[in-house]
Amino acid sequence: MTVPRVGEVNARARPIAPARRWWRARPSDAMIRVASVLVVLGIWELFGPLLNPIILRPPSQIVRAFADLIANGELGVAMVQSMRVFGAGLAIALAAGITLGIVSGRSRVIYNVLDPWISALYSVPSVALVPLIAVAFQYSGDAPRVATVVLFAIFPILINTQQGVRNVDPGLLEVARAFNTSERRLWGDVIVPAAMPFILAGIRLAIGRALIGMIIAEFLVGLAGLGYLIIVYQNTFRIDKMFVPVIVVAAFGIALMGLVQFVESRVAPWTRREQ
């Protein structure tokens, strides 16, 4: 221990918690994020219309457009049309993708039957196939749009499920055999739980791609839904109204991702071991 010399300030003599000036306080991450959004929206509101009054409509006007589109029912109709297509397409993609993923993950023969097709279709940009789908379904009803959503969403879920099933720890398969498992119990006890984190990650990717597929199908194929609203207001230069379906799709995507992440944390708590 050193003895403080005369004239030296003793550290202990200082106040324990020096009063902080408010500008020295460390802002939290959330505060910075909120501030960032507010500042950009404020600049947009004040200066946007000065730069380009047609394209840069101020946020307050977009909020008003939101209210208008809700009031006249346009937004509601478009949302129902979009959600119907999105829901049906995603459901078909998940059911088919998980089923095909599981059987091709467990059977070498089925894997070899499917793999060339999956590889070929997955390496073509899905957008390039949308006109073909439109013609094949004769532009009629929801069918071509549902098919587009399926095309966009099926590959991530199929491939993830397949990898999950193929990557089951062989040590655990041996444990199951050592305790005389039946094939049925093997699925419930080992294969499905082991593949579950992969499947859920696949669902998360599939949701993102299904939303893209839905909007593209509404651009290119059908005269319905939120994507169609975007095109209509683009053509009529109602940029404030054009933002409304964009914001709705974004909010919907974020909400679904949050839901899947919540389910992931509930269903597979062992995958969060680093936390």
Partner: protein, 260 residues
């Protein structure tokens, strides 16, 4: 009386290019703990897997209770080096796994889980997931899962090989205590233990007899009787005058083969 008999067992890998063991002969008596000691990669684990019907021989046969081994049996349980716990099952569910597959009644399963979780010292951790436990505690759960079957024969594949030195010694003592508990050994379960290890000290501490295997292709180099009385603890074994002699003997047998 012989419980497990290995007759001329031959196993090859890679379409015959690699001979793991060739004409191996071994007999494991009733109510003994037999430690199989051998250098790394000599096929000890493969031999144990064949004893449980998880791998098949290319020649010879293994007989348990006068029946040739073809598939895992209900009265034989296995403990794995990698613990082999299901990450998605809680400790109690992992312990229950074997007895559930054996198709016992719910009430019996619950009693067994309670009893063997307590026996291995995991009471209070029933609802934990494996990733929340240390390696030593995970292997306690692996042991409880095997014991819960109340098997006649316990096959242990380097169960403490991946644990640190202190934890390993604690678990060796626990295993000695469990196997020496009246009503466990001889009183139903598990009377015969086959324990694979590459640690000489572990083999002496746990075994009634030690079979020393040579490097690949594995042959029985020698069989050693561990004449240290039970009940034992690791400390009492190490302190016994015979310990150093037995260790030197085993060490010479292992080394002469490595040098040759």
């Amino acid at each position: 009386m012989n419980r497990i008999v290995v007759e001329g067992a031959t196993k090859r890998f890679g379409s015959g290019a690699l001979t793991v063991f060739d004409g191996l002969e071994l007999a494991i008596h009733d109510s003994e703990t037999l430690c199989i000691l051998g250098p790394s990669g000599c096929g000890k684990t493969t031999l144990l897997r064949c004893m449980h019907g998880l791998a098949h021989l290319d020649g010879g046969r293994i007989v348990i209770d006068d029946l040739e081994v073809r598939a895992p049996r209900r009265n034989v349980a296995m403990v794995f080096q990698h613990f082999g716990l299901m990450p998605w099952k809680r400790v109690s569910e992992n312990v229950a796994y074997g007895v559930e597959l054996a198709g016992l009644e719910r009430q019996t399963i619950d009693q067994r889980v309670l009893r063997y979780t307590e026996m291995v010292g995991l009471t209070g951790f029933e609802r934990s997931y494996p990733y929340q436990l240390s390696g030593g505690m995970q292997q306690r759960a692996g042991l409880a899962r095997a014991l819960a079957l109340e098997p006649d024969i316990l096959l242990m594949d380097e169960p403490f090989g991946s644990l640190d030195a202190q934890t390993r010694e604690i678990l060796q003592d626990e295993l000695l205590r469990i196997l020496q508990t009246p009503g466990v050994r001889g009183g139903g379960a598990p009377s015969t233990v086959v324990f694979i290890t590459h640690s000489i000290e572990e083999a002496i501490a746990l075994g009634d007899r030690i079979v020393v295997l040579t490097a690949r292709p594995a042959r029985v180099r020698d069989t050693i009787l561990v004449d240290i009385p039970r009940p034992r603890t690791v400390a009492s074994v190490v302190a016994h005058p015979r310990f150093v002699e037995l260790r030197d003997h085993c060490w010479r047998l292992l080394r002469e083969r490595l040098v040759a």
